[in-house]
Amino acid sequence: MNNIVLLPVLIPFIAGTLLILFRHYPRLQRISSGIVVFLLLFSAAFLLYLVYQEGIQTIALGNWPAPFGIVLVADLFSVLMVVLSSIVGVACLFFAYQTLSPEREKYFFYPFYFFLLTGVNGSFLTGDLFNLFVFFEVMLISSFILIVMGGTKYQLRESYKYVVINMFASILFLVALALIYGLTGTLNMAHIAVQVAELEQAGVLNTAAMLLLVVFGMKGALFPLYFWLPKSYYGPPAAIAALFGGLLTKVGIYAIIRTFTLIFVHDTGFTHTVILALAGFTMFFGVLGAVSQFDFKRILSYHIISQVGYMVMGLGLFTPLALAGAIYYIAHHIIVKSALFLFAGATQKITGTTDLKKMSGLLKTHPVLAWTFFITAISLAGIPPLSGFFSKFPLILSGIEQASYAIVIVALIVGLLTLFSMMKIFIYVFWGTPSLKKSDYEHIKMKPLLLPIMPLVALTIILGFAAEPIFSFSEVVADQIIDPSIYIDAVLEE
């Protein structure tokens, strides 16, 4: 029993609640949310240290022991995700200070920002399948509010689709939960894993597994259920889009990896082959979308889809090396993708548009912005020595080891096309003759705008140059999740 496990969920929850009470004081809201978000990062980092030193930490809420009560479980994988979400939380909040309009601030931006983080962190930490559903809802309802905030016609139209598809996914999730509860008589993930092992995973249990895959695939934007993502992420302002692009789909991916490394691992010939095929299609169609677009934010949104494919590819191959690659990839992706969305926001602030064809020549007027964007962009495309390369390399390597050449070829082609579309952005936005007059952008101060992005850029460089220790850390994480008995023993010990 360790209450520290709960802190990354409780801190944003309490902060959000308090901020509702003080909604008429924007200055107070800004200052206190700035403090809270660092507190959150600190608690997450401390928890990671604790779990790394002393092994998996659990807490049974209300002292009702597992498998009867709800447990929160902090293993290395989940805490790593919590740390990453807190990092993105800090960066996006400070970027929001610079770019968010005062009307949005007045309408509960900060409370729902923190409720969103509550839901995300809760989904990572929970050890109970129904509780996962609840945290998904907390996250989704906050995201509904953040995505329509501002209420432009485009936002309302696209977020309506977002709401409908997510509600549908939630209903399917409930159906799957009912099915699993009927079959195994429990909702505790570790206990379900034990029961599934005894029942032998076949027939109806595989149906339940596929239902869960569909549900999490909808949230994580897997093929063929990704169509809602690019349009709905285009609507909200950059700070919110960065938070969504960095985190929300990754919660779905986390849930897929968790269920298919812990619970449904006895029929990998079927389940993981399906996952691998989905990964290939997701990558390919996502990147095709990106190549065909000429809008900064839309290209980035399509890239989320194609890169989700890489993470799921790691799970589909299901070797320790591939899983370590997938984990490294998630870390790399969350940081880089949020940074790129923030870059899109910064250029939008300068030029007033996200249409690539209307921008040009920012390299001459804003060199710092241009070169840091360049670093992040080639990191996304996977050029050594940046983090993108070291996260794709183990995936490709284990693909070849497993003799799954088809997926390796797809992954390589997708990497090339990613490079192509990132360079397209760079050429259109930063090359050419400057189209802006000096008076247009002089009043925009670049320093506060770039400051929140710099830590993310620095992190992708560090992740690349310190690939050796970081990769061996993700191998430790992978070793822990590929052996379900470690998790099960930690939860059901009492």
Binding site: M1, N3, L6, L10, F13, I14, T17, L18, I20, L21, R23, I59, A60, L61, G62, N63
Partner: protein, 141 residues
Amino acid sequence: MRTNFLMLHTITRIVSFIVISFSVYLFFAGHNAPGGGFIGGLMMAGALILLYVSFDLTTIKKVLPFDYTFIIGLGLLIAILTGLNSMIFGDAFLTQYFDYYQIPFIGEVELTTALPFDLGIYLVVIAITLLTILTIAEDVS
């Protein structure tokens, strides 16, 4: 033409009183028997909505001058603080404590920490229901 709502007003006064008292009963019955903050809160909201419908918005707003947004925050805070309370004593979050006390005139009463938690839920449910319905009602098309 001004319509006379005498029947409606008289019945509403009686019925809403009964519903509100039953809601309070359900709230206290909560943690051991069917009932609780959620159901009690919904019932209370139902009674208040009845008042809003049969009289009109401006009249009831004068009688109940609450900021429902604030009440949502307050209710959530009460619920969380009750949960945090157990962390101070070194137990897991949301652990509940209870004991029996002799209170003059009433007799033996069970006091639990589930009660303030339920009070938080009660406030949140009332406030959210009313806020949702009133926002739609006030919307001028």
